[in-house]
């Protein structure tokens, strides 16, 4: 046996740091808000899968969305826009486009460069309105899409977007909640087994405005939805919820960014996921940034994963960055665990069969998020969808 004398720490460069790079001026991104942004695809280098932002994603499966020219023409939607809500296709130079954000990765920029018309949903009324949009025929060729949801001042609405069928889609969704407005957005990804879907949601929440944003990812081969929410007006309130159920061979990813930009903002992030079957894979990254202007911030984020079988992997990475000392509270939590045998024992000891006990525990675990959706019809459908996920009849 040979003894190795350890080298002095810091003498050699870290393999991942780049501190000792030839260009000594190189400094990695220090804060979440400082990531490079651009509307142009060409401004982002090709992805090799080692980048911090992509290393947990199956990059090989999404190549066309990263590199190819995408079809950006309008697609078929079904909607039942009520009074005070308009749903229309608008040109790229419409004032509503680019009002909420700018791409931070290559797939998002590719969608931005290639989209032809944007789907604009605009809400004006103070009486609560619900608008449902469903898209089930996106086609299997590589496509770009752009959606802009604008909640005008003091409007009050629920916008439900449900996606199903096959898709090879990269898209951007801009959401602007103007002063005093209340908006509840639910995006349901219940794609067909072969679907690949990358999405960035850019959200601005104005003064005294309230946003509830819920992502539900159930179906699809690869689904990666990254919401970036900026509480940009004083007193803005953002509740970000997520529910995902990955089964065999599915990759479901969500990278959440909540930015407390203005003072007296409140943020809550709660994502819950279940994993079942070989190769079921989930990724949750939760970045919370309390900016220097975020005095009086009240923030909490958490992620919980329930592992139902062997052979699954759940990544859960919470990050909290605070640039001001004057806050009310900030916290985070993350836990990934197996079925609690004691819960099953308790239910079985009351005569409930093992299968039924498992069903109760999983549905109970996810119910907390389903109850946040705020639309009875959709909640009932989600309960049914979760039940069929459990039975393995839905993938």
């Amino acid at each position: 046996m040979t003894l190795v004398t350890p080298e002095q720490h810091g003498l050699k460069a870290h393999s991942d740091g780049g501190w000792d790079a030839d260009d000594k001026g190189f400094v990695p991104v220090q804060t979440r808000s400082a990531r490079p942004k651009s509307f142009e695809h060409a401004d982002f280098a090709p992805v090799n899968g080692l980048e911090a932002d992509w290393k947990l994603t199956p990059v090989k499966l999404i190549k066309p969305l990263l590199d190819d020219v995408l079809d950006g023409t309008p697609y078929a939607i079904e909607t039942d826009a009520p009074e005070n809500v308009t749903v229309e296709w608008v040109a790229r130079d419409d004032a509503r486009v680019a009002s909420a954000g700018e791409p931070e990765d290559r797939a998002s920029a590719n969608a931005w460069t290639n989209f032809d018309k944007a789907l604009a949903i605009t809400v004006t009324g103070e009486e609560h309105a619900t608008v449902r949009i469903s898209r089930s025929d996106m086609g299997a060729s590589a496509r770009a899409a752009h959606t802009v949801i604008t909640a005008r001042p003091h409007s009050n609405s629920t916008v439900l977007i449900e996606s199903s069928g096959s898709a090879l889609l990269s898209e951007n969704v801009e959401i602007v909640v103007e002063d005093g407005a209340t908006l509840n957005v639910v995006s349901v990804q219940d794609w067909a087994d072969d679907a690949i879907h990358l999405a960035s949601h850019f959200v601005q929440v104005g003064r005294d405005a309230t946003l509830k944003h819920t992502l539900v990812s159930l179906g699809g081969k690869v689904v990666r939805v990254n919401p970036s929410v900026h509480l940009s007006g004083e007193g803005a309130d953002g509740e970000l919820y997520g529910l995902y159920f990955a089964d065999e061979g599915q990759h479901l990813e969500q990278r959440v960014y909540l930015h407390h930009q203005a003072a007296q903002t409140r943020g809550r992030v709660n994502y819950k996921g279940a994993l079942q079957g070989a190769g079921a894979r989930t990724v949750w990254v939760g970045d919370v940034l309390i900016g220097s202007g975020g005095s009086g911030t009240d923030s909490y984020e958490q992620n919980r994963n329930l592992v139902l079988t062997e052979g699954t992997r759940a990544d859960s990475i919470p990050n909290l960055e605070i640039e001001t000392g004057d806050i009310q509270g900030a916290g985070h939590a993350s836990a990934t665990g197996r079925f609690d045998d004691e819960q099953l024992f308790y239910l079985q000891a009351r005569g409930i069969s093992e299968a039924e006990a498992r069903r109760l525990v999983v549905i109970g675990f996810l119910a907390e998020i389903v109850q946040k959706v705020g639309d009875e019809q959709l909640e009932a459908r989600l309960h049914t969808a979760i039940e069929s996920e459990l039975e393995g009849t839905n993938s």
């Binding site: 024992f345 079985q348 000891a349 009351r350 005569g351 409930i352 109760l360 109970g364």
Partner: protein, 254 residues
Amino acid sequence: MSVLSVKDLHVSVETEQGTKQILKGVDLEIKQGEIHAIMGPNGSGKSTLAYTIAGHPKYHVESGSITLDGAEVLDMTIDQRARAGLFLAMQYPVEIPGVKVADFLRTAKTALSGEAPALRPWIKEVNGAMKALRMEKAFSDRNVNEGFSGGEKKRNEILQLELLKPRFAVLDETDSGLDVDALKIVSEGVNRARESTGLGLLLITHYTRILRYIKPDFVHVFVDGRVAEEGGPELADRLENEGYDRFLTDTSVV
């Protein structure tokens, strides 16, 4: 008349230090309508007996038998045991997030009787039982055991005892952690269940105070995985005065 019979029961558990024998030959016979108190110092195997009867996977039966009217309970799954008429009121009931008490009770009742109970009479029965246990109505909308105080958890166990109507119930230290008022309420619930269904009871306790409210027909003293002494209610009085010391002279307490 139903009989729950435990014969020469040997049970072990796996620990970090290896296999540990807990029960070393337990014999008990409980007839319907009888109340048996099992008393003993910590670590004597009282709770192990309770969980073994209910079928908790942590406990391995090395030998012996548990029969209910001649049918081998050890061959049954956990839920089959409950459907055969056995009930365990747990010392530390677990939280089941997202599952409301009302839904849980109805699911359990349905599983036990093979069909869903008629809604109106069922709700009436649940409300009546809750009222008798001084539980507020809002209780049924809460998630099972989530955020319950110690006393609420125990009441919730006895609520199930009254509603699910087992033939034999094991109460595992139901008295522990209860103040005297809660102890009385819980004991009244147990006595009501016994009067209305004539169930047999195995009352596991460290202390004698619950026996002031629930009168045992037989008392068994557990020491080191065996029944060390048996008798009538007078044995409990003796333990009250003398404690367990005289049983512990040549055994080690864990």
